[in-house]
Symmetry: C2
Amino acid sequence: MNERGFIEALRALATSPAARGLKDDAAVIEFGSETLILTHDTMVEGVHTLEGQDPADVAWKLVAVNLSDLAAKGAQPEGVLISHMLGDDDHRFIEGLRSILAKYDVPLLGGDTVRGEGRRVWGCTAIGRATHIPVPSRSGAEAGDAVYLGGPIGQALVGFEALRDGTPGDQAPYCRPLPQIDLGRDIAPHVTAMMDVSDGLLLDASRLAEASHVTLRLDSELISVLAPQERLDDAMRWGDDYVLLCTGPHGLDQHHALTRVGSVAAFKGDRLLVDGTPPTGDLGYTH
Amino acid sequence: MNERGFIEALRALATSPAARGLKDDAAVIEFGSETLILTHDTMVEGVHTLEGQDPADVAWKLVAVNLSDLAAKGAQPEGVLISHMLGDDDHRFIEGLRSILAKYDVPLLGGDTVRGEGRRVWGCTAIGRATHIPVPSRSGAEAGDAVYLGGPIGQALVGFEALRDGTPGDQAPYCRPLPQIDLGRDIAPHVTAMMDVSDGLLLDASRLAEASHVTLRLDSELISVLAPQERLDDAMRWGDDYVLLCTGPHGLDQHHALTRVGSVAAFKGDRLLVDGTPPTGDLGYTH
């Protein structure tokens, strides 16, 4: 059974309508008078982090990737549970955890610690409260909508290379991404579809297009202002930026910190077009 | 920083009153008109499982230990999120997951899959809805209460030895424990304190006593009817049985499937007395 087979088998078990998208989307359930958003991400040392990376940055990112999933639902974070494998430099993990929880004013609710060997594994479950009903999903984009990004892409790529190779460049966008909680909440009432760019713009845009049964037409000239010079193609295929990708009416960028990068068209055989052409090669990071 | 230091540092971060007991207790938060219970457990191959154990049993136990935490809160399970490290025999993991979700009628809401190397790691977050307010905690036991167990202990010990050594004996109590969801919900309105026995009766009873600032006086003759013959001492120090341990008024065992095993006294220097004497040695499994 390969990974895709496993995920398909899991999806077959997840018959609840709340389980919109195992692995790459948050669960949405009605709970009392409120709507609850739940998301879980697991990180493996050396797979989702660089070997030897500061555990403070690992802790930050572990929480950040989950908060970014909540941001894509326009949710207000209510708390996190952390799973931590004990190791060296645990005080650094605590320090990073303290920093991001303070930055986003999110309570630590609980979790588990385990002993292990070899590569360390960390998990985070985040819960949030929906601020707008219906909760934005990936599946609502409609022909005629504009496509927007909530921030720059490729910053994490530059930060990753700076950290890995010791080259100049700001490491922070890779080490300490900033989930767009406020933006997500502000635009939730206005978008037709929303997700965060975690695995690469092209890959995530194609996922949104597939969920919505539409074609996303991206314009590289519009995107270029959001990406590092001469790295546009890499930036579109690199993840870890955790900016919001959304669709909605034209003009949303007049009132919110959004940049228009394309438009939505009726599906005619291609999920994604960049300057009118389907992109080839790896569209992003699959893990 | 050792494990205790790490957990203390985590607790210092967990300033929310919802975070009653990181690692060994569930979080309780108000959510809309309901009260939400959240718990997370992580399992490491070869640490919390036997090497080479059937992944179907691993999946069962992963969910069961979390449902047992919900049972101790008298909570109705609302769903689980699963974190799974891909490996061989993933179809068996799916099969075990399917079995326990069907048995307890719990929806799979989401989760994550990762690739890794070496020992595999699994995580489960369970959410539940409180059925009785106040939600039972570990801290409400009072002098004069009776102490009860919700089922036998030492069955998991016999099952573990049967599995590890190929000796005769029912492996099911170790491989497929049965969290006492119905019992927990039934007795939640009547208990003064409740938890599940996951790490050994003596260890867990001492934790309940400490949280409640009382002394628990256990009676080995009363316990002996719940344990395998001639293994009473082992059974009291072995975990994995996932039966409920609670305190409350005398006579609760007349109306519920509980066995009285002792009484609660005012604290006078010992957390725990067995037949009047403080137990020595390892009280249970710390991990």
